[in-house]
């Protein structure tokens, strides 16, 4: 049975045909079924998604067997999704866990961003500010699929990654990685961690987010 309904597929077809510019490569990292409850489902939904528009190319890797590429993108868990631009450059946008519920919209939005090179958030001035960060930054955004504020927090972090090659931004679906969520003390979402030490709960407006980013970088 199709995970994406016919109606949604038609809608996406229209959105993609109107908004996609360059091809996007979607890498998905899966594990054995016994190890990963949602890997099959993630692979299936992305298969369906990438069949909607010929600009979307999907590549499937095994998180344990395809060691070289796993290391290249520093993938730690499965399922994971990485988006690359037409030349194969890493967008540094990561999804850990199935992008279902509200997070499906984040994935669609991110695909369009990578295709057009335009981040979902930030104006020229804000982008310039984010680009001035010259040390490695890793942003984790813990979410649940039923959280309406979460896509905003995710797209904010992903937008920052898209405009600065020092930043990697990861969405983490908290239910699928309960141990990690517990270790980070996550029980309300969206919960964003920058370089694992600076954190805040909630979806912040653009400038407030940038402030948090600089607070975290300033701590280094």
């Amino acid at each position: 049975m199709a995970l994406i309904s016919e109606k949604d597929a038609r809608y996406l077809q229209k959105v993609f045909s109107e908004q996609l510019k360059d091809p996007v490569k979607i890498l998905i990292f899966v594990d054995d079924k016994s190890e990963c409850e949602y890997c099959d489902l993630t692979e299936q939904v992305l298969q369906e998604l990438s069949s909607i528009d010929s600009k979307l190319e999907m590549y499937v890797y095994h998180v344990k067997r395809d060691k070289q590429i796993v290391d290249q993108y520093k993938i730690g868990m499965a399922p994971a999704i990485v988006l690359l631009d037409k030349e194969g450059n890493d967008s540094r946008i990561r999804f850990y866990g199935i992008p279902s519920g509200h997070e499906f919209s984040s994935l669609i939005q991110d695909i369009i961003s990578v295709s057009t090179g335009k981040p979902s958030f930030f104006n020229a001035e804000q982008i310039e500010k984010i680009r001035s960060i010259d040390s490695p930054v890793r942003i984790k955004v813990f979410v649940t699929p039923t959280c309406p504020y979460c896509p905003k927090a995710v797209l904010m972090a992903h937008s920052a990654a898209l405009v600065n090659s020092n930043i990697i931004a990861e969405m983490i679906e908290a239910n699928e990685f309960p141990e990690m969520s517990m270790n980070y003390g996550v029980s309300s979402v969206p919960h964003t961690f920058i370089n694992d030490k600076h954190d805040f709960v909630g979806a912040y407006p653009e400038n407030a987010f940038i402030q948090e980013l600089f607070k975290a970088v300033g701590d280094d």
């Binding site: 809608y11 996406l12 959105v15 908004q19 509200h102 499906f104 919209s105 669609i108 939005q109 369009i112 335009k118 979902s120 958030f121 649940t144 039923t146 959280c147 309406p148 504020y149 979460c150 896509p151 905003k152 797209l155 908290a174 239910n175 969520s181 003390g185 996550v186 029980s187 309300s188 979402v189 919960h191 709960v201 909630g202 979806a203 407006p205 653009e206 400038n207 407030a208």
Partner: protein, 315 residues
């Protein structure tokens, strides 16, 4: 919201109507003002639709026998957007009144002048204001059951409150958690009967009547709740993994405190056209002093304010 592409045009320096807040009241006002030919900017700090986004199902908005809150929010935004309403994602920090001029200042220092300003900042979940609440928020204490419910799968949670929202939350959480205890300060619930019946017949839901929360206890995360019996004064300690607080709302009127007239609870006082004590500043939706706070009345407030503004300031 599913396919909100988020592309934004440049924000201009002046609009006929600027709403601060983007819930049903603001979107209702936007629809009426746009159709009258005015330019409209909606300034929203988090997510258009406001509290709609926190409600799982809405069963009392006319025309929809049952609709998800987030879906209704998405449709309202789309409706306003299709007419040319512009949106700005920012926090308004100041309202400036100079003679006829009305200006909104945002956190990043942007100044937007307006023919009229509509304060539609709504209300936020009210806090209990007891020891441990602030420290343990997001560490076991939550104000959004749909957001955070899944962190308490097969665990023991409590809901504080006895109104519609509290009982709705309890019913939602009962699908996820091992047990749900409703803590209520009175001896009966205030929620509508249809919800009460559902709660009383749900075997996962327990009740602690005539109890108030005295303190939340926990070091790294919430461990215990100390309850006080309102009749006997006796204290008891109960262990919960999570507590969801749903005891009503607090108006977000800080922005206009000292500018327009507020009542003793902080709600903005308006006339029947929704205008505040300052001309060209309206207050609509939950932030306004009124008896009924429902989606349908919020939308109506927006329509009334927009039509009044059109007639008095733009014709």
């Amino acid at each position: 919201m599913l396919f909100d592409v988020g592309l934004k045009g440049e924000i201009k320096d002046h609009y006929d109507v600027v709403t601060v807040g983007g819930g049903p009241a603001a979107l209702g006002a936007a629809v009426y003002a746009k159709r009258a030919g005015l330019s409209v900017l909606v300034i929203e700090k988090t997510l258009e639709g406001g509290q709609l986004n926190l409600t799982t199902y809405i069963d009392n908005y006319l025309g929809f026998s049952s609709i998800e809150g987030q879906e209704l929010a998405r449709r309202m935004k789309e409706h306003a957007e299709s007419l040319g309403t512009e949106f700005l994602n920012a926090q308004a920090t100041k309202i400036i009144v100079e003679d006829e001029k009305r200006i909104v200042r945002t956190e990043e220092g942007r100044l937007i002048s307006a023919g009229v300003i509509m304060i539609a900042t709504g209300a936020d979940p009210r806090k209990l204001g007891v020891a441990g609440e602030r420290e343990l928020t997001a560490k076991g204490i939550s104000y959004c059951a749909t957001c955070d419910g899944y962190f308490f799968k097969d665990k023991d949670v409590a809901v504080v409150g006895g109104g519609d929202t509290a009982i709705n939350d309890a019913l939602y959480l009962a699908k996820i958690a091992r047990s749900v205890t409703i803590i209520h300060r009175r001896d009966k619930l205030r929620a509508v009967k249809i919800l009460q019946d559902k709660a009383f017949s749900n075997e996962k839901i327990k009740f602690e009547f005539n109890k108030v929360v005295e303190e939340f206890v926990g070091s790294k995360k919430l461990e215990e709740v100390i309850l006080k019996d309102t009749k006997t004064g006796q204290l008891s300690r109960l262990k919960f993994d999570g507590v969801f607080i749903a005891i009503g709302l607090m108006p977000n009127s800080e922005l206009v405190n000292g500018i327009v007239e507020l009542d003793e609870s902080g709600y903005i006082i308006t006339d029947e056209s929704m205008q505040t004590s300052v001309p060209r500043i309206y207050a609509i939706g939950d932030v306004r002093k009124k008896n009924t706070r429902q989606i349908i009345t919020a939308v109506a407030d927006g329509a009334i304010a927009a039509m009044h503004a059109v007639e008095h300031y733009f014709s």
